[in-house]
Amino acid sequence: MTPVAAGLAVELHGVTKTYGSGDAKVTALRGVDLDVRAGELLMLVGPSGCGKTTLISVIAGILDQDDGECFVFGENLNGMRDRDRVNYRGRNIGFVFQSFNLIPTLTAADNVAVPLLILGTPRREAIRRATEALDRVGIGDRGGSMPWELSGGQQQRVAIARSLVHRPRLIVCDEPTSALDHQTGHKVLELLREVALADGRSLIIVTHDARIFSFADRIAKMDDGRIVEVVTPSELK
């Protein structure tokens, strides 16, 4: 455990990441410094290719940075053995994907139960907790539905329930509203604020969608692999 500033969920210092080599070399992150506070909803915004997705991949522990330090709740993920990092990720981080990534052959409840099953929770208990999570996101009656029987908004609610079910301390969301209409997107963000931020949980959302910026506590603007500005929604020009 490395000392970490009190109240910080994520602490990045000089994080760099490069893909490819030679002429094909692309630098995605150029010495990123960033803090995410506990209980905060931080949005990462910026043009396509600016490094947003790479940054949340590093924060979520699914991509190694080349240089710099990344502490998540005081743990340096880069220094962990693969197996420990996978376990740490499974216990502490929830994911909401752009295209939901619900397994089409599992019911909504089964999909929500997956993170618990990965952690070794017995299936009966996992389904019970999954049903509770679905209740919390307002679709407790759709647990037996297959993903293709649900609307886009309902599928994203299932994905949110899945990200919450194992009570992680950090949730990372990749463009959670891009596949949804404006009204549904707003409802999903309201839900994320209401449910996901509870219990001091932190939330990092990568988005292009300016219509949802107002839901953020802070907004980190990225460009060309750097954080160029961190502002509150009211400060946003």
């Binding site: 397994i103 052959t105 599992l106 997956v114």
Partner: protein, 384 residues
Amino acid sequence: MIYVALKMLTGDRGKYFGILFGLTIASFLITQQMSIFVGLMTRTYGFITDSGLADVWAMDPKVQFIDDIKPLQDTQLLRVRGVEGVEWAVPLYKGILKARLDNGNFQACNVIGLDDATLIGGPATMLQGRLEDLRRADGIIIDQNGAEGKLAKRGPDGKPIPARVGSTLELNDHRAVVVGICRVSRTFQSQPVVYTTYTRATTFAPMERKLLSFIQVKAKPGLTPRQLADRIAKHTGLAAYTKPEFENITINYFMKYTGIPVNFGIAVLLGFLVGTAIAGQTFYNFTLENLKYFAALKAMGATNLKLLVMVVVQALLVGGLGYGLGTGAAAAFGNYFGTRTELAFRLPWQILAGTGAAIAVICTFAALLSLWKVVRLQPAVVFK
């Protein structure tokens, strides 16, 4: 996670049945073709198996298999009887003779001449009459398949009338009377089998200087068949084989000098390749299409080991089901056609084990292709 793996597999019905179909076809083809092959090969030495009492078969050294008759002088029988350790030795005639049928056609028959005194080497199962009835004038015993098939007469309506006790045949211009019907192993060429006494068989057979086909020998207690065979060979200059050895010599001849193993081998190989192609490719495609879900599972904390177990469980399920369905269908096929037609079909446990191994290889191949993809998968692709 096994539950998730099984739901992922069985939930996509098209792919699931595609993989299952491929493995079932492979399993069926491999089992069926191997069983027919073994069935055919068993028929080549069926007569040796049926002649249960003798420990050793003595014959001309140039004989290559049971139907390769190179007659001996009758005096050889006395020489064999003179070898120490021989309990008894009896002559056996075996030859192909023509039977004239009512309609004027000729039918080649496998004629067996048994020792007149002991009738050793006769059929084990009599369906009509008794073995001793062979001592009646012109008596012959014919096998059930021959009686109901190639030796059956035709009624006025064209339907076959099976030969039975009392029916007469003309064997090489000699009258023969059916005194019994027996059940024996089918012969390789499916010819009717006709038993008679040695003396009568030699009168049925065309005049030749030598007519003794084989000498069947029993070892005295305390002497192994192999030891006795060595003694006979040493003292008489004849070839002498134990029963299992003679069966092997016969089967090896057919394996070596006929195209049967190659033809069946190709069919088995085709079954294997078809199964591998269909099941392997479908399983691999199934994994490819599910890669984004595997990546999501990895991101959510599933270790490579967990994902490997998922893929292996999926492969085991389709492999086990495909194997069961394929071998079951092959067994049903053999049971149905083996009892109603001339089909040679024999399904020993070794074939089931061999098919199981082949299906395991196909599944392992299919799973390995998929596992390679899954293990190398970067969870970060979930954000792409």
